[in-house]
C-alpha cells in the first residue's frame, strides 16, 4: 500500500486549464481595446482623407460581422461541442432581431401612434404580442427570453423524445421554415415580407449618427468578447466535458449517471439566447429585419461559418464568420458574376483539405511536417506507445 502512495505523488494529474492563458488574456485585452477605443478613434477622430481613417462603411460591416460571429459561436456550442447540428438557428437570430425591431418601430412611430404597417392593416390598437415592445428594459430582456423560451420549449420536447442527429437537424429546419412562412403573413403582425425598416432612433438618440454607429459597433464587439469568454468558461468546466461526452457517447454518459436532457437543453437555450442577442444588435446596424432571416438557406449558411472556421474551438467560428462574410462582401463587388464559384469552391476546399477548419490549419501543417519528418527517419528513437 505505501508503494501506491509513492506512485500517486509521482503521477502528474493534468491541472485544470485556466480561463485564458497569459497570452490569451493579452490577446483578449488587445481585442477589447481595439473594439472599444482604437476603432472608434480611427473612425471618429482620424479625418476622412487619412489612410488610417476607418470608414463608416467598414464600421457597419465589421459590426455586422461581429454579430454573425456571435451566431457562429452559438452554433459551435451546440454543434461543435455537443454534436447537435441545428439548421434552424436563423430563427433565434431573427427572433432577437424582431424583438429589437418591434422596439425600434415603436420608437419610430412615436409614443401614441402605431407602427406604419399596422395602420395599413387597419389595426386600431396594438396586438397583444406587441404589449411590451414600448419598454427598452423589457425589450432587452425579451431579446434573450423569447429565443430562450421558444428554443427551450422546442428543445425540451425534442430532447425528451431523444431526437438525435439528422432527425433533429431536419426538424429545426422545418421549424424555422414554418416560422418564416408565418412571419410572411401580414396578419401575423410583424410587417409581412417587408418586415421592419425605417428605424429612426434608439433610446431617443438618432440611429443615423456616426457616434451611434460606432456605439453599436463597440457594443457588438463587447457582446462578442463577452460571449466568447462565457463560452470559454462553459467549455472549460466539467459541464463542457459532459457536453462532449454526450456528443461522443450519449448512452455511456447516461450510464455514468448524467441525464443528457438538462445538459442538452441548457446549452441549447444558451445558444439560442446568444443568437437572439446577436440578432438584436444586428438589426439597428443593418436597418432591416424580415422573415428571410429565417429562411432555411440562411441557417445552413450560419452552420457553414462555424464549420469553415473550425468546430469545437471557440476562436475558429469567429474567424469563420469573418472569413466567409468578408469574402462574400468583397467578392459580390469584385466578381459579382463569379463569386458563387469562389465561395462554393471555398466550402469544398475547406472540407476536403482542412477538416479542422481554418483555425486548425497551422497545427495541421505542423502535423503534416512532423509526419514527414518522422517518416523520413524511421530509425530515430521514438517515444513509442507512451506518446
Amino acid at each position: 500500500m505505501p508503494m501506491k502512495t509513492d506512485l500517486q505523488t509521482s503521477l502528474q494529474l493534468p491541472k485544470p486549464e485556466p480561463l485564458l492563458g497569459t497570452r490569451g488574456w493579452a490577446l483578449f485585452l488587445a481585442a477589447l481595446i481595439a473594439v472599444c477605443a482604437v476603432a472608434p478613434a480611427l473612425n471618429l477622430l482620424v479625418p476622412e482623407g487619412s489612410a488610417l481613417h476607418l470608414s463608416d462603411y467598414l464600421v457597419g460591416l465589421l459590426g455586422k460581422f461581429m454579430c454573425y460571429a456571435i451566431v457562429a459561436l452559438a452554433i459551435d456550442l451546440i454543434w461543435g461541442y455537443t454534436g447537435i447540428l441545428s439548421l434552424g438557428h436563423g430563427l433565434f437570430f431573427a427572433l432577437g432581431g424582431y424583438v429589437m425591431g418591434m422596439y425600434l418601430m415603436r420608437e419610430a412611430a412615436g409614443p401614441d401612434a402605431l407602427p406604419a404597417f399596422m395602420g395599413f392593416l387597419d389595426w386600431k390598437e396594438l396586438p397583444w404580442h406587441w404589449a411590451l415592445s414600448g419598454s427598452f428594459v423589457a425589450t432587452a430582456l425579451l431579446v434573450l427570453l423569447v429565443p430562450g423560451v421558444i428554443g427551450g420549449v422546442f428543445g425540451y420536447f425534442a430532447f425528451r423524445s431523444r431526437i438525435k442527429g439528422v432527425y433533429f437537424s431536419i426538424i429545426t429546419q422545418a421549424l424555422t421554415y414554418a416560422a418564416m412562412l408565418l412571419f410572411f403573413r401580414n396578419e401575423t403582425g410583424f410587417g409581412g415580407n417587408n418586415g421592419f425598416t425605417g428605424f429612426k432612433t434608439l433610446l431617443g438618440y438618432s440611429l443615423n449618427t456616426q457616434a451611434m454607429h460606432v456605439l453599436l459597433f463597440a457594443l457588438s464587439g463587447l457582446a462578442l468578447l463577452g460571449c466568447f469568454l462565457f463560452s470559454r468558461w462553459l467549455i472549460r468546466s466539467k459541464y463542457g466535458r459532459v457536453l462532449q461526452a454526450v456528443r461522443d457517447a450519449e448512452s455511456r454518459t447516461m450510464f455514468c449517471g448524467y441525464n443528457p436532457l438538462p445538459y442538452k437543453l441548457s446549452i441549447w437555450i444558451i445558444s439560442a439566447m446568444m443568437c437572439g442577442l446577436a440578432g438584436a444588435l444586428y438589426v439597428p446596424q443593418v436597418g432591416i429585419i424580415n422573415p428571410s432571416e429565417m429562411s432555411v438557406g440562411n441557417s445552413i449558411e450560419m452552420a457553414v461559418w462555424t464549420a469553415v472556421g473550425g468546430r469545437a474551438s471557440l476562436v475558429g467560428p469567429i474567424i469563420g464568420a469573418f472569413a466567409v462574410n468578408g469574402g462574400k462582401s468583397w467578392l459580390t463587388v469584385a466578381a459579382p458574376e463569379y463569386w458563387l464559384y469562389v465561395l462554393g469552391a471555398l466550402f469544398i476546399v475547406v472540407t476536403l483539405l482542412m477538416p479542422g477548419g481554418l483555425i486548425r490549419l497551422p497545427s495541421q501543417i505542423r502535423e503534416w511536417q512532423d509526419k514527414r519528418r518522422a517518416l523520413a527517419q524511421p530509425s530515430a528513437p521514438q517515444q513509442g506507445v507512451q506518446a
Binding site: L85, S161, I170, L340, L346, I348, L352
Partner: protein, 530 residues
C-alpha cells in the same frame, strides 16, 4: 347602348343586302374590322345565321380564329402560309403592303367559336354536330333559338338532340315567360355539371320570381350534392399527385442520403440538371427533327436526364464526396458548396431566367371521370413514372448485389473492403445511381413546374423532410412519408389555404418526430445503435 344600336343597324343592313347566301367581301371585312368589337360580333353572328354556301364562311371563321386575317383598303385577306386568299371568292389575291393584322380578344374569340358551332350544327359529320351542340348548350344565346328549333326538327342523332334540348333549355332560362323559365330550370336540374351550375347561378343573380328562385336553389343544391364526390376524389388525386412528386424528388436522396449517409445539399441541383437535360433534348428535337417526332422527345429525355445527372454525380463522388465518408456533417458543407457552384454554372450557361419545357401533346388534356373531375394526363404520367422508378429502386436495393454491397459498404466501409468489395466503385455507382434518379425527377418535374436555376432549392427541403420522416435508410418509409405528406397537404390546403397548410404540415412533422424520433419506419433494437 348607343353603340349597340348602331351595330344592330349595321348588321341589319348587311342582312338585307344579302341576296345570295354567300360570304361577301363587305361582310368579311365587317367581321374582321368594324368600328368596334361589338360591331364585329354582330357581323359575325349575323353571318352565322345564314346557311354556309361552299363552306367559305366556315373557312373564314377558322381563319379569323387563327389570327390569319389581314385587312387593307376596306377588304379582308386570309393568309394561308405563303399565299393570300380573298375570303369572299376563295381565289388568290395579293396582300397590300399596308395590310393590318387583326387582333381578336377573348370576347371575339367566344363569338367566333359560337358562330362556328352554329354553323357546325348543320354539318354532315355527327361528331362535329355533337361538339357543336355541346358548345351551344354551354353558351346559351336566345338569338339562336330559332336555329336550334330548326335543327332539332331534322336531327336524327339522339345525343345531338339531347344536347340541343339542353341548349334550348339554357337559352330559355332568360325567357320573359316565367313558366318557360321554370321548365328550363327543371330540365337543367337533371344535368349535374359545373356548367349548369354556372348557368343557374347567373340566372339566380337576375331572377326576381320567387318560384323560379326556389326551383333554381333546389336544383343547385342537388347538383352540388352530386358533384361533391368529384371534389373529394379530386382532392385525393391531387394529394397522390403531390405525393408522387415528393416521392420522385426524394427517391434519389433516399439513396445518396438514406443509404450512403451523404447529407447531399446538392440533391436539388442534380434534379435541376435532369430538368435542364430534358430541356436540351427538347431543343434538339425542335431544331433537328420534324414536328411529328416532338411527341417522343421525353422518351429520349428520360435516359438522357438519368445519364447526365448520373455522370455529374459520379464526378462529384470521385472528386469530392469519397474523401468525406464517415464524416457525414462535412458532406453537408461540401455539397452545399457544390450546390452553389452548380446553380451559378447553370446561370452562366443558360441564363438566370427560366427556360421553357413543353409537354408533348399526349400529355396535355386528361381523362374526364366525372363532370367535375378530370385527371390530367401529365399528372397521371408522373404518378405512374414515380412508381415505376420506385419499383426499380426497390428492386435494386433489395434484390441485386449492388444493392447489397451499397448497404454493406455504407454500414462498414473498412470491413466491406476486407471481404472483397470494391468499395470505391460501389460508392461511385451508388452515388451515380442516386444522382441519376434525381435526374429522372428533374425530367418529370420539368413537365409540371418551372425549369430554372432555383429549381433544386424548391425541392431540397421537402426531399429531406420526406426521407427523414420516413426513417433514414427506409425506402418503404420514404414512400409512406411522401404520399402521406402529399395527401395531408392537400386536405389541409382544402380548408386552411396553402400558407397555413404548409405551416401546419411542417409543424405536424415536428410533432410527429417527437412521437417517432427515428421516422415512420424506425429501426428498433440494438442494430439501430451501431
Amino acid at each position: 347602348m348607343k353603340i349597340l344600336h348602331k351595330a344592330m343597324a349595321a348588321a341589319l343592313g348587311l342582312l338585307l343586302s344579302l341576296s345570295c347566301h354567300a360570304l361577301t367581301a363587305e361582310q368579311a371585312f365587317a367581321m374582321a374590322a368594324a368600328e368596334d368589337n361589338d360591331a364585329r360580333a354582330a357581323a359575325i353572328n349575323a353571318a352565322a345565321l345564314e346557311p354556309d354556301e361552299g363552306g367559305r364562311l366556315a373557312a373564314y371563321l377558322q381563319a379569323l380564329a387563327d389570327d390569319a386575317v389581314r385587312t387593307a383598303g376596306g377588304k379582308a385577306y386570309v393568309i394561308q402560309g405563303e399565299r393570300t386568299i380573298d375570303p369572299a371568292t376563295g381565289t388568290a389575291a395579293t396582300l397590300p403592303a399596308d395590310a393590318e393584322e387583326i387582333v381578336n380578344n377573348n370576347y371575339l374569340r367566344g363569338v367566333i367559336e359560337s358562330a362556328q358551332a352554329a354553323l357546325a350544327l348543320t354539318s354532315p359529320d355527327v361528331q362535329a354536330r355533337r361538339a357543336a351542340a355541346k358548345k351551344l348548350a354551354e353558351e346559351p344565346d336566345a338569338a339562336r333559338l330559332p336555329l336550334i328549333d330548326k335543327v332539332l326538327a331534322g336531327e336524327p342523332d339522339a345525343q345531338v338532340k339531347a344536347m340541343l334540348e339542353r341548349a334550348k333549355a339554357a337559352s330559355l332560362l332568360g325567357s320573359e315567360n316565367t313558366a318557360e323559365r321554370l321548365q328550363a330550370v327543371q330540365q337543367l336540374a337533371q344535368i349535374h355539371t359545373p356548367e349548369t351550375q354556372l348557368l343557374l347561378n347567373q340566372r339566380l343573380a337576375d331572377e326576381s320570381d320567387p318560384a323560379v328562385q326556389k326551383a333554381i336553389r333546389s336544383a343547385l343544391s342537388s347538383i352540388a350534392e352530386s358533384l361533391a364526390w368529384g371534389e373529394r376524389l379530386g382532392a385525393i388525386f391531387s394529394g397522390l399527385s403531390l405525393g408522387s412528386v415528393l416521392l420522385l424528388a426524394a427517391l434519389g436522396l433516399a439513396i445518396t442520403y438514406g443509404l450512403m449517409g451523404v447529407i447531399n445539399m446538392a440533391h436539388g441541383e442534380l434534379i435541376m440538371i435532369g430538368a435542364y437535360a430534358t430541356y436540351l433534348v427538347q431543343v434538339l428535337f425542335q431544331r433537328w427533327l420534324p414536328d411529328s417526332a416532338f411527341g417522343w422527345y421525353l422518351v429520349v429525355a428520360v435516359p438522357v436526364a438519368f445519364t447526365v445527372a448520373a455522370l455529374v454525380g459520379a464526378v462529384l463522388e470521385r472528386g469530392v464526396i469519397r474523401f468525406l465518408y464517415g464524416r457525414p456533417l462535412e458532406t453537408l458543407l461540401a455539397t452545399f458548396g457544390i450546390s452553389l457552384v452548380l446553380q451559378q454554372a447553370v446561370r452562366s450557361l443558360f441564363g438566370a431566367q427560366n427556360v421553357g419545357v413543353e409537354n408533348p401533346a399526349w400529355m396535355s388534356g386528361g381523362v374526364s371521370l366525372l363532370p367535375n373531375l378530370t385527371l390530367p394526363f401529365n399528372r397521371i404520367a408522373i404518378i405512374v413514372f414515380a412508381f415505376a422508378v420506385l419499383g426499380a429502386v426497390a428492386f435494386m436495393i433489395a434484390r441485386t448485389r449492388l444493392g447489397l454491397f451499397v448497404r454493406g459498404v455504407t454500414q462498414n466501409r473498412a470491413m466491406a473492403s476486407c471481404v472483397g468489395v470494391n468499395t470505391a466503385r460501389t460508392d461511385t455507382y451508388a452515388f451515380a445511381l442516386g444522382s441519376g434518379i434525381a435526374g429522372l425527377a428533374g425530367c418529370a418535374l420539368s413537365q409540371i413546374g418551372n425549369v430554372g436555376p432555383d429549381l433544386g432549392q424548391n425541392y431540397i427541403v421537402d426531399s429531406f423532410l420526406v426521407v427523414v420522416l420516413g426513417g433514414v435508410g427506409q425506402l418503404a418509409g420514404t414512400v409512406y412519408a411522401a404520399l402521406g405528406l402529399g395527401v395531408l397537404s392537400k386536405l389541409l390546403e382544402g380548408w386552411a389555404g396553402a400558407v397555413l397548410a404548409k405551416i401546419a404540415v411542417l409543424l405536424f412533422i415536428v410533432v410527429f418526430i417527437q412521437k417517432r424520433p427515428q421516422g415512420i419506419f424506425a429501426l428498433k433494437g440494438r442494430s439501430a445503435e451501431a
